[in-house]
Amino acid sequence: MIEISNINKWFGSFHVLKNCSTQVAKGEVVVICGPSGSGKSTLIKCVNGLEPFQEGTITVNDISVGGKGTDLSKLRAHIGMVFQNFELFPHMTAMQNICLGQTKVLGRSTTEAQDRANALLQRVGLGELGYKYPAELSGGQQQRVAIARALAMDPIAMLFDEPTSALDPEMINEVLDVMQELARSGMTMMVVTHEMGFARRVADRVIFMDQGEIVEDATKDDFFTRSRSERAQLFLSKILQH
């Protein structure tokens, strides 16, 4: 479903992504981890074209992301994305946040969009809170609204960029639970996270990045038991101490 081959990207003279290749099959859950600055966010932002890249190809459902004739907006409408800082729109209620894309991009009627939004708010455990503005919700609630907003577009895949790292510890699980349920339902997911417990429970594969390279790309079991590079071991020993 998502094919990334030989991606190279530079910010000016800084080589952020070095020859990265991987693929994500339909229904697969891939966790991406690695030290700060290793290029994880940049990599998943390349998948929906939020970051342009200079070399290589990425295709989603056989549509080339960097291709000249590609209508990026149309492609993005079907790839959900969840950000570290939630990025809910502050001047809209939770309900309006979830309806915006549905009405303005997919062309659904307001009632249709609201019905869908209500069902999704229910699904992420926020049934009664649609009328609230983002600033009136806790971080965990905001992130669940953001997930509902992405799901409202009926995405074929979901990208998560450190969805829990801006959250207070007691709110992390309510978000991970929603993501786990989503994975179980068969959603294709790329998740940048340092939550190794989540990776153990939910991931099919784990990718480890360092300094712009994909150092490790293994099944979950292999990653946590065998065949890992020194760099990955060092990283794991650091974050598993907590």
């Binding site: 809910l88 915006l100 991009v105 600033a135």
Partner: protein, 240 residues
């Protein structure tokens, strides 16, 4: 010094009428100029925040040009030089047939000048919105114009209500410069009353009071606008 105070003169014929005419012209010139400044300034300000290089450069050039030439010089250019620079037919029309040539020049001058200041406010407002908001909009499939229409403009303009209020008040006060090209606004009328009656203190006091009164009204109205458009809970940082 002996000065014969006579406040009653302000309410006598025809001076009272002059003052009213002055208020009318001041309000007409400043509100039409504001409409121009607001629309053009919004356009230029948005251009300066677009991802493409060309519109950014055009926007920047506009702002530098209009912001850095003294307003009084621009007033003279619009009124005396402009008709000579444009194509002959247009120039002739401006000189002979254009209605209210003084007021029209003043409106164009104040509008295009203030547009450069409005543009800077609009740009600052939009740039103060975290980059992630634009990304989130694009990520759900909105096109760039939709990101502006539904996200950046509604939030950015709320942020700049206070500086925009003071830009409006500036245009209002700057409209007094229009007297230099002969627009019969408040200050011009006050001066004329002085010429006819030698009651300069009264006349200029009246002008001052008129400026202050309008300013207070505008400030009060805009304070209401600010409250009405406030985003619930926004700006009140919680926790982290």
């Amino acid at each position: 010094m002996r000065y014969n105070w006579n406040w009653g003169i302000l309410f006598q014929d025809p001076y009272f009428e002059w003052l009213i005419t002055g208020i009318e012209w001041t309000l007409i010139v400043s509100s039409l100029a504001w409409i121009l400044a607001f629309s053009l300034g919004s356009l230029v300000g948005v251009m300066r925040t677009l991802p493409q290089r060309l519109p950014r450069a055009i926007g920047a050039a506009y702002v530098e040009l209009f912001r850095n030439v003294p307003l009084l010089v621009q007033m003279f250019i619009w009124f005396y030089v402009m008709p000579e620079l444009v194509p002959d037919d247009l120039g002739r029309w401006i000189k002979r047939d254009m209605p209210y040539p003084e007021a029209t020049s003043a409106i164009l001058c104040l509008g295009t000048y203030t547009a450069s200041r409005v543009a800077e406010q609009v740009r600052a407002g939009i740039e103060s919105i975290p980059r992630g908001q634009r990304m989130a909009g694009l990520a759900m499939g909105l096109r760039t114009w939709q990101v502006y229409r539904y996200l950046l403009i509604p939030v950015g303009y709320r942020i700049i209500v206070p500086p925009m209020t003071s830009e409006f008040l500036t245009i209002f006060k700057n409209s007094s410069l229009a007297l230099t090209i002969g627009v019969g606004e408040v200050l011009m009328q006050a001066r004329q009353i002085e010429n006819y009656t030698f009651q300069g203190f009264e006349a200029f006091t009246a002008a001052t009071i008129i400026y202050v009164a309008v300013t207070l009204v505008v400030v009060a109205v805009m304070a209401r606008v600010e409250v009405k458009t406030r985003i619930p809970g926004y700006g009140v940082r919680k926790g982290r």
